[in-house]
């Protein structure tokens, strides 16, 4: 298979698969982070049972293999009368896993803000809400840019799990597997997909590094 043949026959499919990979990644990450924020709020709350429940959630979904979770959502949940379409299943799995890791990152971020800062703020007369929203969260968010960038790349890599279930819009890995099952696509199809993944990862990494340079607090 030559490059010309590959581009003319599969060019548009590669493009739409790239967009699918991007879509899965973006939705999974954005909602994953929003959920992570919610979880983190509960995880620092003084209500112990709620905190323990979130802790449990985070430990379970940090440690479950993505494939196990996805297969359970796709084939297990229907047996429990919960039916999700294939693509929403992939997105759900990505959101759940992303939220667990995101929550962990945010907790690390919160704990990088010195205890002294909280005590200083309190002695200045700031209330709990002001302390959290004006002292802790801004600094915590600044310190988690790098791990969140890595998390976004990890979500992108995990979106390749979509190739394991019969989705309508194939992601990059799914497309390459399909092409190679139909004809001998050879190394070129894989190289193209690898370049697209790698390019995406490098773009994410460089944007993340730029943001990090801008907001990082030198300690």
């Amino acid at each position: 298979m030559s490059i010309g043949y590959l581009v003319s026959h599969y060019g548009t499919q590669f493009l739409s698969s790239l967009l699918t990979t991007w879509r899965l990644t973006a939705i999974g990450f954005v909602f994953g982070i929003l959920l992570a924020l919610l979880l983190t709020i509960v995880r620092v709350s003084p209500i112990k049972p709620a905190r323990m429940a979130v802790e449990f959630y985070v430990q379970v979904f940090r440690n479950i293999p993505g494939l196990s979770l996805l297969i359970f959502i796709v084939y297990g949940l229907p047996a429990l009368h919960i039916l999700l379409d294939y693509e929403p299943s992939v997105i759900t799995a990505l959101i759940i896993i992303c939220s667990a890791f995101g929550c962990e990152n945010l907790m690390t971020g919160i704990n990088t803000v010195g205890v002294g800062q909280v005590e200083a703020a309190r002695s200045l007369g700031l209330g709990f809400t002001s302390i959290v929203t004006r002292i802790v969260i801004p600094q915590a968010l600044r310190s988690v840019v790098q791990p969140m960038t890595s998390l976004l790349i990890a979500v992108m890599l995990s979106s390749s799990l979509a190739s394991q279930i019969p989705v309508t819009n194939l992601d990059l890995t799914g497309l390459v597997a399909k092409i190679n099952n139909a004809e001998a696509g050879g190394i070129l199809t894989f190289a193209l997909a690898a370049v697209l993944y790698l390019g995406t990862a490098l773009i994410i990494a460089s944007i993340g590094a730029a943001i990090d340079r801008k907001v990082r607090i030198a300690r």
Binding site: P46, R62, I64, P65, L67, S150, L161, L172, A201
Partner: protein, 291 residues
């Protein structure tokens, strides 16, 4: 944590018993007064109710769909079921251990290339590391699974997953090792060279041993990723636990229980590995690098 406290409310017991230094997460809340304590009590009750409600909904969902029926679970009483899951687990562990060792060796080589003073080697190593970290292991697995046979090369399904998993992990570990090397103070290599060691000797016998000690906890956390990736045996039908689960399901027509049981086994293994990493980190003072 409570040192700035003005009122004389008794310190909650969880604070009193804590020996580790306070974390910011704990410092967020002052020792609460009577009104706040009342709210916390109310919140506690509500959250317990919500959690119980959720558990009940999950139970209902299982019960109503008949997934708790004995026919779906009874085969877990059979010894053969567990030996089959156990043999899958052995497959999983065998891939994980081999891939882990390979990843450490290749990761060290890649890192050495990346910090080399010979530019072409540095570029090549950097490129390999980026590819290993930026391309999903599933894509590599499909490459070995679908393309190699067309070239007349046959490898076992064991290597079809072990090679890609270790390649991906090697890319990550190379960067982990590099962060370890960077963490070794500069004076160490200066001292080594002033003692007459060559740059390579200093790297091998002074820098590297210290760097590795810094990254041991991170290596253990990366093992979690390796264990997760072994589930891709499912793709190439290598008999690891996920693949064996698939076989069990088709034999006993029992989907949910098998997936739940295997998922729990994975979670427990990985949780223990994470705990081990944190334990080593606490004991040695070496930080876990998030990568």
């Amino acid at each position: 944590m409570t040192s700035t406290e003005q009122n004389h409310a008794p310190s909650p017991r969880r604070h009193a018993r804590r020996v580790a230094p306070p974390t910011t997460q704990d410092a967020l809340f002052e020792v609460s007064g009577p009104r706040a304590r009342r709210w916390i009590h109310v919140g506690t009750v509500i959250s317990v109710l919500v959690i119980l409600g959720l558990l009940y909904v999950i139970y209902q969902q299982f019960a109503l769909s008949g997934q708790l029926d004995a026919q779906y679970w009874s085969f877990f009483g059979a010894w053969t079921t567990w030996t089959f899951i156990g043999s899958g687990l052995l497959g999983t562990l065998s891939v994980a251990v081999t891939a882990g060792i390979l990843a450490i060796v290749v990761g060290l080589l890649l890192m050495s290339g990346r910090v080399s003073s010979f530019a072409p080697l540095r570029w090549l190593s950097t490129a390999i590391i980026e590819v290993a970290r930026g391309v999903p292991s599933l894509l590599f697995i499909y490459f070995l699974f679908l393309v190699l046979p067309t070239w007349g090369i046959t490898i076992s399904t064991y290597w079809m997953i072990t090679i890609p998993i270790s390649f991906n992990a090697a890319g990550v570990l190379a960067e982990v090792f590099r962060s370890g090397v960077n963490a070794v103070p500069n004076g160490q290599s200066e001292a080594a060279t002033s003692l007459g060691l060559s740059r390579g000797q200093a790297f091998r016998s002074v820098i590297l041993p210290q760097a590795i000690r810094y990254v041991i906890p991170t290596l253990v956390t990366q093992l979690v990723v390796v264990v997760k990736d072994t589930t891709f045996g499912y793709v190439v039908t290598y008999p690891e636990m996920m693949q064996n689960a698939k076989v069990l399901i088709s034999n006993y027509n029992s989907l949910v229980p098998v997936y739940v049981v295997t998922a729990v086994i994975y979670i427990v293994i990985n949780y223990l590995l994470s705990r081990l990493a944190r334990y080593i980190s606490r004991r040695t003072g070496a930080k876990i690098v998030v990568s």
